[in-house]
Amino acid sequence: MQTLEKEITKTEVATTTISGSQALLEALIAEGVDTVFGYPGGAIMPIYDALYDYHDRLKHILVRHEQGGIHAGQGYARTSGRVGVVFATSGPGATNLVTGLADAQIDSTPLVCITGQVFAHLLGTDAFQETDVINITTPVTKWNYQVTDANEIPHILAKAFFIARTGRPGPVLIDITKNAQLQKIEYAGYKKCEHIRSYRPKPIIRKEYIAEAAKLINEAKKPFVLLGQGVILGKAENEFRAFIEKGNLPAAWTLLGLSALPTDHPLNVGMLGMHGNYGPNVLTNECDVLIAVGMRFDDRVTGRLDKYAKQAKIIHLDIDPAEIDKNVKSTVPVWGDCKETLPLLTKAIEERNHSEWLAKFAAYTKEENEVVIHKELNPDTDELTMGEVIRLMNEISGGEAVVVTDVGQHQMVASRYAKFNKSKSNVTSGGLGTMGFALPAAIGAKFGVKDRTVVAIIGDGGFQMTLQELGTIMQAEVDVKILILNNRFLGMVRQWQQLFHDKRYSFVDIQSPDYVQLAKAYGIAGATVDNRSNLKDAVRKMLNSEGAYLLEVMVGKENNVFPMVPQGCSVAEIRLK
């Protein structure tokens, strides 16, 4: 030990004496963090005290609830492609993060959450605002760690960022005891982490599987590509496009794959899943080779698994080895980062035309258009539909807006009809289905892409779950457009009760406050509209307003989202009405 100390003195590393809290903030700055979403409290006060001196370099957004903070972090990560950072105090502050952590874990969103913790000597004593946050969050984090000694802070933060953003991204939580925040350390600078011996962010690409996959694609008469969020997370949008364009391969996106490809790309055949498009669902059970890229065969995508694409050979590209063969057995697994595997595959496939096969998708689109889409977007009844609101938004924004959706009917309608020109333009809670996600996520989304219009589309149920974040919008002057599609019901649950529970509408009738007045109380302009003649102007006014704006649209009470693959049915059994 003595010799080691001598050696260190010999190399003469210049150090400065700083606190653990300062070391933390230095780490954030070194990682390029510009915005933090958080809420202070007793056990995180030393960090907030240090933040006081860093406010010119680190923007801190004071949210109204820690759940809002973490959803904002998620929104930021999803639109910026960077790691979202969240601060919360111990105890209730930390437990309020749990929903957001679970959401980020299942939707692979990179986050670094910092929670304060009681003094190390009080751990396990049921101290004030003490909670076992490490054990509470273990199932919902990619990694978590409790720091009790400030000397650990620089390298633990480096590890946290490395783990959060590499491989299959995910949330990381670092719990820092108050003594470590206060402790003075000799700080020798920040070194980014590039390697952890027990952690392999991406599997090695097996060339023979690329060849095998290319052979299947080249032999295919009816190939079909499923596009997941992996393409966005891997920043492989161009590689993906080159791949499908060379082979003329029709591609359908999952809910989280939305916007990875422009909506009007000729090979984009629509959305998969329970409320996805007709063709992609039916033809899943007709294709001969199914190529899944960066998606995980969620049950909402596959429907009944034992009747899912049984006729097809399956090629699965994924960075997470645990996803391969988890739900659907692959004929050829292509392990690896799709940014690297897709170009290899593109090189190995031959140009094809597949016009007959593509025409099949077009025929289904036509049928879906006639039965469902046309009347949803251009209704002939007096009642407003969610679809026509989205159509008007598309017409006015031209597909340039970032769309943040909550969970429920409006989410499905917006996801089906919103137009996207650019990647990372869709933010939603897919895997976890967190109502209340959209409003705070939109706040974060706006900080992620300050030059773009951000529209939060929310139902009347979800909005009431996190509406306290209007306060954040007011105080931080966040320019988000809030579009409430109010059907005076918890619409998706009502739809299921109608279809599968004999219209026994059990506790889905939900009242709303006067949203325009509510917005006004927060200094946010707003309007409500319930008739078609004013609708377009109202949507335009919202999109063109200076600063935040809330528009409530009263839509039909009992409209249903179709098509629909009923639970327990095969994707081929999709219903148009």
Binding site: R197, S198, I204, P321, A322, K326, N327, K329
Partner: protein, 195 residues
């Protein structure tokens, strides 16, 4: 078909990792039959030995989920044919029973039990072996007043393994060596399984 599998996990020595691994099983309502944590042949690397009763498909998926954990280096699974394993058991019985009843002494001898502690009031025996063997001694000692019994978790050595030293070097290198994993599913897509 469900059979007994032994999962061997090489990990970093990290607080909280036991919980991270345990919840992979409990989340899926899978009971852990036996769990042992010990150092391994490689310095600073720990070795978990976990026994469960499951189908191979489930065990394979569990191992992938275990390997996803940041501090896990590698997880292997093996059937009983592929490993050498032992469990240790301790038995406390009254010394009088041992001294007076010749039959007890014979039984202990037959089972290869070894006395660890002999006191006036009680004697503690130890046996090592497979579960059936340690269980058998419980059964035969019961009529003579078995005061206490405890059995350790399984420890197992994989017959075909060359140890973790070389593997660890791969993990420590930035670009790990290519690992051959046989893909038994190539062109076999007749069944879809669920966990």
């Amino acid at each position: 078909m469900k059979t007994e599998y032994t999962i061997t996990v090489y990990t970093e020595n990290q607080v909280g990792l036991l919980n991270r691994i345990a919840i992979i099983f409990s989340r899926r309502k899978i009971n852990i039959e036996s769990l042992n944590v010990s150092p391994s042949e490689a310095e600073s690397i720990h070795r978990f030995t976990i026994v469960i009763n499951e189908t191979e498909e489930v065990v394979r998926k569990l191992c992938r989920q275990i390997e996803r954990q940041v501090e896990v280096l590698k997880a292997y699974y093996n059937t009983n044919d592929e490993i050498i394993w032992q469990e240790m058991a301790l038995y406390k019985i009254s010394t009088d029973a041992v001294a007076e009843k010749l039959k007890v002494e014979r039984l202990l001898r037959e089972c290869g039990a070894r006395a660890v502690v002999i006191r006036k009031d009680y004697t503690i025996f130890e046996t090592t072996g497979h579960r059936e063997e340690t269980d058998k001694l419980v059964e035969v000692l019961a009529p003579f007043g078995l005061i206490e019994f405890v059995r350790s978790a399984r420890v197992a050595i994989i017959k075909a393994s060359n140890g973790f030293h070389e593997k660890l070097k791969e993990f420590e290198a930035y670009e790990p060596a290519e690992e051959l994993i046989e893909n038994e599913f190539l062109n076999k897509q007749d069944e879809v399984f669920t966990m």
